[in-house]
């Protein structure tokens, strides 16, 4: 009986989402209606009045605004400006050096920023014009940065991973550390795509090494000290135990502000922009979290998740079939939904199933974040592509950028297959924590 209510709830939820009701409010409305139907109005009112407070009243979650602030200050104050030059200096002899440098610059940016949109925007502004000037096809250049931006949410800090950790009740630090592996793996395989392209299609990715003139490797590396210092603050604190992952956010944000002030790069306008983006992102994300927390309680009452979990174990689905379903589900959702919505709509259903199957939730978190990030570059709604379109409007249309992204999407499939085939590869670093 109540399982049917669960299915009905999911159906109504998707109907409301299609109507363009904000994800947060759709989750709240369905949960309220569903609980009222199952238990009556009084318990439903109880959930409606308790959940907003009890969800936000969470210490781990306080890292979200802090890491956002750190990333936006670093970005708007230009603390990360030297990354591209440094990557170029080190990698200049490799064919396709410019594109590969931009991908590794994205990885460096990812270490001070938890969001892939900011990473793509920051690197797109600097790298795309330069790549086009040196003979790259604009669509390939834009595609490389749109894809490279997704590394922003893989390498810690990562806002998606914090939110996952809160819902899965698993260690955010361990998911973070697992993210280092998949982030670097993604960067290496993306670089492979550039290498192969420069070999097969020299017309869209020129293979000749970079002009080394005027590139002083030592000085270029010295110029990224603000990034290295911020990384040292965040990771050093994490691994030495001087402060926790949650406190690392506040330390990083304060570090970024102090460094930017010291470099005289933090005007009031810069700080104001960083703050506005931090608040917009945090508040819109938190209210979705409130909705997802209510939805979790509603689904718990319906027994929908245990019903599906029973069906899954009854159907004797193997690991591969189960993973195939997960991959297809997230790729489909990722085509239309932004990652936080997709994550928080699905976790209430999926987490109990995976727990019942004995699947490692740290590994699952890393995989899900990777799948959600693929959704950032798949059409028709690929937010990284849209942001690249905004910062490099004169170079490529949305359609051209989606075309440029295609080889990197194929590379992503390789990364996902590796992650699924060898969970121990992702879990190797977290196992030391």
């Amino acid at each position: 009986m109540s399982v049917e209510t669960g299915f009905l709830g999911v159906a109504v939820l998707f109907a409301l989402l299609l109507l363009r009701v904000p994800v947060a409010l759709a989750l709240i409305a369905v949960s309220f209606g569903g609980v009222a139907l199952l238990l009556g109005v009084t318990p439903a009112v109880g959930i409606l009045s308790n959940t907003p407070y009890s969800f936000i009243d969470n210490w781990t979650l306080s890292a979200v605004p802090m890491f956002l602030l750190m990333g936006f200050v670093a970005y708007h104050a230009g603390l990360t400006a030297g990354l591209f030059e440094a990557a170029k200096a080190v990698l200049r002899r490799i064919p396709g050096a410019l594109a590969i440098s931009s991908i590794f610059a994205c990885s460096g940016f990812a270490a001070v920023c938890g969001s892939s949109l900011a990473t793509a925007a920051a690197m797109g502004r600097i790298a795309i014009p330069e790549m086009v000037r040196s003979g790259y096809a604009p669509s390939f250049a834009a595609g490389a940065i749109a894809a490279g931006g997704t590394i922003g949410a893989l390498i810690p800090p990562s806002i998606l991973m914090i939110v996952y950790g809160v819902f899965a009740e698993t260690s955010v630090t361990r998911v973070f550390v697992g993210g280092i592996t998949i982030g670097l793996l993604t960067a290496v395989i993306y670089s492979g795509v550039v290498l192969v392209t420069s070999y097969l299609r020299p017309d869209i990715a020129p293979p000749r090494p970079l002009d080394a003139e005027g590139l002083d490797t030592g000085r270029a590396l010295l110029n990224i000290w603000p990034v290295l210092l911020l990384m040292a603050i965040v990771f050093g604190g994490l691994f030495s135990g001087v402060f926790t992952a949650t406190e690392a956010g506040a330390m990083g944000a304060a570090g970024a502000i102090v460094i930017a002030l010291g470099m005289r790069r933090l005007s009031f306008a810069v700080f104001r922009r960083a703050m506005i983006e931090t608040l917009m992102t945090a508040a819109s994300l938190f209210i979705i979290g409130v909705g997802a927390a209510m939805f979790t309680r509603f689904l718990g009452l319906t027994g929908l998740s245990s019903f599906i979990a029973g069906a899954v174990s009854g159907a004797d689905l193997g690991y591969v079939e189960l993973m195939l379903i997960v991959v297809v589900l997230y790729l489909l959702l990722g085509m239309f939904m932004e990652p936080f919505g997709a994550l928080l709509v699905t976790l209430p259903v999926l987490l109990p199933i995976f727990e019942a199957q004995g699947i490692d939730l740290v590994w699952f978190g890393v995989l899900v974040v990777k799948l959600l990030e693929i959704g950032m570059i798949t059409p028709p709604v690929g937010l990284n592509v849209f942001v690249i379109r905004n910062v490099a409007a004169e170079y490529a249309t949305v359609t051209q950028i989606f075309k440029g992204v295609t080889p990197f999407l194929l590379a992503d499939i390789v990364v996902v297959v590796i992650a699924i085939a060898f969970p121990s590869f992702i879990l190797f670093l977290p196992s030391f924590m």
């Binding site: 989402l17 299609l18 608040l279 979705i288 239309f336």
Partner: protein, 164 residues
């Protein structure tokens, strides 16, 4: 009308300012706590409680109306190309109506529990420090009520989404 529009902008910016103050306070408080704890073995009492029950609640709920007005709420835009301009406008009105009902309900129920905790004077004990928590409960109905006003206006007045 223009005066009202300017008043609205000012009020919504004030909400964002409160959110910003809560964010900076959170940062400064945690950094100071980490420093004092590691340097002098003297953490600030009740840091955890003040962060979660005041700063977090304030920065999550007070700016909601400002986020709504600024087009920051996350939506799914699958059907947009099918709706056309007029269809989109009606869909927006319907969404505004649904949003108003939900924010309105949230305002009422959270106000009710805020009043209840004010009557009992809810507090928590952090080590040996008594931290009253009931004032924080009022931040929710405040944030939700302002969001209700913004979405209610949107039912009647069509306004193109401002860029972020």
């Amino acid at each position: 009308m223009r005066f009202l529009a300017r008043l609205e902008t000012t009020l919504l910016s004030a909400l964002a300012l409160i959110g910003a103050i809560a964010t900076v306070a959170l940062m400064a408080h945690v950094v100071t706590d980490v420093a004092l704890r590691n340097l002098f073995n003297q953490p600030i009492p009740a840091t955890y409680e003040i962060v979660t029950k005041y700063y977090m609640i304030a920065l999550a709920f007070i700016p909601l109306a400002w986020v709504e007005r600024g087009g920051g709420m996350v939506q799914v835009e699958v059907l947009d190309p099918l709706l056309g301009e007029a269809g989109k406008r009606w869909a927006d009105r319907l969404v505004a109506l649904i949003s108003t009902l939900i924010y309105g309900a949230l305002t009422l129920v959270t106000l009710d529990s805020a009043l209840a905790s004010a009557r009992t004077g809810t507090f928590v004990m952090a080590q040996n420090v008594l931290v009253p928590t009931w004032p924080g409960f009022f931040l929710l109905p405040l944030g939700f009520a302002l969001a209700t006003v913004v979405t209610f206006v949107r039912i009647f007045v069509f306004r193109p989404e401002p860029g972020r």
